[in-house]
């Protein structure tokens, strides 16, 4: 259980958890093994997490308070964290440890919680992306809420923060669910909640003035064993797809007919 502020305040302190992932849109599988070629890949802040940073900064712009960025991973890149600071976050804490290379949602949540307890124990809201760009597991946010024993709201695409309370619009399958809960709480957001600002290069440079602190496992009271994943990844492979390369010839009307037939046949005859 975290030690968070219980007093009523209007300026929320927000912690945003940001994961650095490989740019999956650019990830190419190895032609033979079909394993993703991670060594050539570029790294970026996970898209959903940038939405979380943007939302936190917007809340700060409206109500004041502080935005703290926390990032954990096998090798957290400072430049990418600076991008979050340039977006308007106030300070950042990072924990890099090779043991996090295999981390699943449970291990990541444990690491994040340890950093938050050490570096920013007084918080009102933790914002996360609802999932990560690379693993898409939707685990970390809810697990964090469990660790801190606070309410969590997921799949949020609109958020209002009031006095010790928040109101959230959740994108659920059949529509939108509007919920509210007391603070502190953990909120995970989707891509629809906002358009993250793009910090200009000049802003990223200027963000060098903002505090960014590297922590070690030792600093946050963790051991490598604490970060063992619950699930083990055996293999990652790309789906092998091949085009059918079918060419139809004839009049436009007939072609459309033929094409439609093929598509229907491919879908198992369902229209």
């Amino acid at each position: 259980m975290g030690t968070y502020r219980m007093m009523s305040r209007t300026m929320p302190d927000i912690v945003v958890c940001v994961k650095q992932t490989v740019d999956v849109y650019q990830l190419k599988p190895h032609p033979e093994t079909l394993a993703p070629q991670l060594s050539q890949a570029q790294w970026k802040n996970s898209d959903f997490d940038l939405n979380a940073v943007e939302e936190a900064v917007r809340i700060k712009e409206k109500s004041g308070g502080k935005v703290v960025v926390v990032s954990v991973g096998p090798e957290v890149k400072q430049l990418l964290v600076r991008e979050c600071l340039a977006m308007g976050a106030d300070e950042a804490y990072i924990l890099s440890d090779p043991s996090l290379a295999q981390a699943d949602g449970a291990a990541t949540a444990k690491a994040l919680a340890a950093v938050i307890k050490t570096a920013s124990p007084k918080w009102d809201i933790i914002l996360c992306g609802e999932a990560s760009l690379d693993q898409n597991a939707y685990q970390t946010g809810p697990r964090l809420a469990e660790i801190f024993n606070v309410p969590h709201v997921s799949y949020v695409n609109k958020l209002e923060v009031g006095d010790r309370v928040l109101k959230a619009w959740r994108a659920v399958e059949d529509g939108v669910e509007v919920v509210s809960c007391s603070l502190p709480a953990v909120v995970t957001v989707g891509l629809e909640i906002n358009t993250p600002r793009l910090p200009s290069l000049l802003m990223i440079r200027a963000a060098q003035k903002k505090p960014l602190k590297e922590l070690s496992l030792n600093d946050v009271g963790l051991t490598k064993d604490d970060l063992m994943p619950r699930a083990e990844t055996l293999e990652v492979k790309a789906l092998k797809t091949e085009r059918r390369r079918q060419v139809f010839e004839g009049k436009v009307e007939e072609l459309a007919e033929k094409l439609a037939e093929r598509i229907i046949a491919h879908m198992g005859g369902r229209r």
Partner: protein, 669 residues
Amino acid sequence: MEPIRETYILLPPGTDFLMYLVLVPFALVFVFGVVYRLRRLGVRSVGELLNSVFRGVGYMARYGLLQRKVVSEHLAGVMHLLIYTGIIALFIGTTLVFIDHDILRVLGLRLLRGDFYLGFEFVLDVMGVAFLLGLALLIYRRFIRHEPRLRNRLEYSMALAGLLFIGLSGYVLEAIRLTVEPRPWSGYSFVGKAVSTAFFVNLPTEPLTLLYRGIWWSHAIVAFAMVAVLPYSPLGHIFSTLLNIAVNAPRQLPLGKMKTPFRIDELDPSADIKLGFRSLSELGWMEKLGLDACTDCGRCEAACPAHAAGTPLSPRDIMQKLRRQLWRSDGLDEDVFASGLIDEEEVWACTTCSACIEACPVLIRPMDYILEMRRALTLEGKLDKRKTAMLTNLSRYGNPYGFDQSEKQKFFEELAEMGVQTLEEKPDAEYVYWIGCASIYDARGREIAKSVAKILLKAGVSFAVLGVEETCTGDPARRIGEEGRFQELALQNIETLKQKSVKKIIVNCPHCFNTLKKEYRDFGLELEVKHHSQVIGELLRTGRLKLTKPLSEKITLHDSCYIGRINDVFEEPRFVIQSANKDGAYVEMSRSGRKSFCCGAGGSTYWYEVRRTDRESVIRLREAVETGASILAVECPYCMQMFADAARVTGVDQSLKIKDIAEIVAESI
């Protein structure tokens, strides 16, 4: 009896003294206005002002006194010239009268006598007619023809009424004088004489004299009042435009070059960051002077493609809004966006085609203000998805499309199959052919690059490509206002080019052309950059390239902004087309050369949307269709894409083919 000027005739003695007494308060109001206006602009000292003016005297003479750009538009030019020369002549006339009556006469001398006086009377009558003719043209343009770009404001009408009154009452005074005190030489004042004959002969002398005195005083007071309000009214442009030309023309950058506000590699990270402007207090007095000199003539608006396409942008509105803001009591410190004065979309709509700069008769540069405001917006990064995506792609993948390296590799392999070598394979190549993202990644654009390569290979030009090391020049980043990311790309490219000792470059993209040629200089790289039209032209002139299959088409050319107006290449593309199209015809569009109309893709606007009612590309394509041409020739891969889309949308893609000049030439080899 010798002809002589009889000043203050028909007026009671002492009128001259009384007139000067009346003049004093008006003169004070005038002087106060001038001082106030200069102070408000932020001019710190007269010395600084005179210094700046002195540097630009040549420009002031050419574009101010001689009105070089004002007369470039016929009706408006003639109108302005008539009013302008009329006022100057009448002012000189009045000054001569002052010298004659108040200085020389006191010394017992006279200037306005004999033949000189007769000439004086004649010339002033002629110039008065010119002045009134000019005003008549003004009335015609504003109130009869209703030229859409002319705006009617109360202050404009009052200025017109004042000028009209001075012109007409001058002749009435002359006519009454000649009626009451006829002189044998009155024929020299031919207008006054005619008015006298038509209206005043045979009228009793006494009421005429009284009428004369009344009109004389009203003529004087209206004239004084017009002078007094000069610094406060649109007529103040007489001075503000001259000042603007003198002060700003010498320090203006060449077209196509943006100000480099900092060097990212020399930046002190702890320094405060500032880029562009969001309030007028961030502008220097010279920039404010540029705003102040805008006379609302609307020429920039009439030339602006974004305005024609129904976007919220009008360069004239931008200037006029900022100008009025300049004089509002708390206007200087107000944020132009937060206050709602300027809509962000206005700033985003600009294609940086520079037509507004070309159009302005008094050398104001609306586009510079627009781009500086853009820089301020981009600095904060509150951009929409498309702009964000383009900039992210530039940083991450080195091209605005967001394609990864393998896509680039694929195309260079295709070129290699044609026999194109990389600089690595051919380190002694004379030229580097810089292909540009639009021709590396876009399928249609690739055809242009292949045609260029085919021509260069055929003519035996010593050239090579950079291959996968070629990245975006940074042009879209700079023009969207992201100076940092532009410089990041520029510095990286400059390092590559320097490392490989590249001196000469061939491009087929006008945007790459401009950036490599003009913008990289600020970062220490001087290159000889040639557009493919120039290279092909040279090959044809020297006979190194022979065209054996002349085309017989009807071709028109769309001058791209960044090769044409901005970099002055007009001849070569036409020569190349005509050489390839020996058996056909070449036709010009109604707007061509320097007056060409942007396709709508420049200034990075290709990469995002702005709310609009029409498209620049569709408007321009219609002009091409009107020529009856079978081929619309382009010299830019972005123009190509814009017109290809427009042709599909308007359904002319069957009747009008759109081809790059390289493709036209490649076909006739």
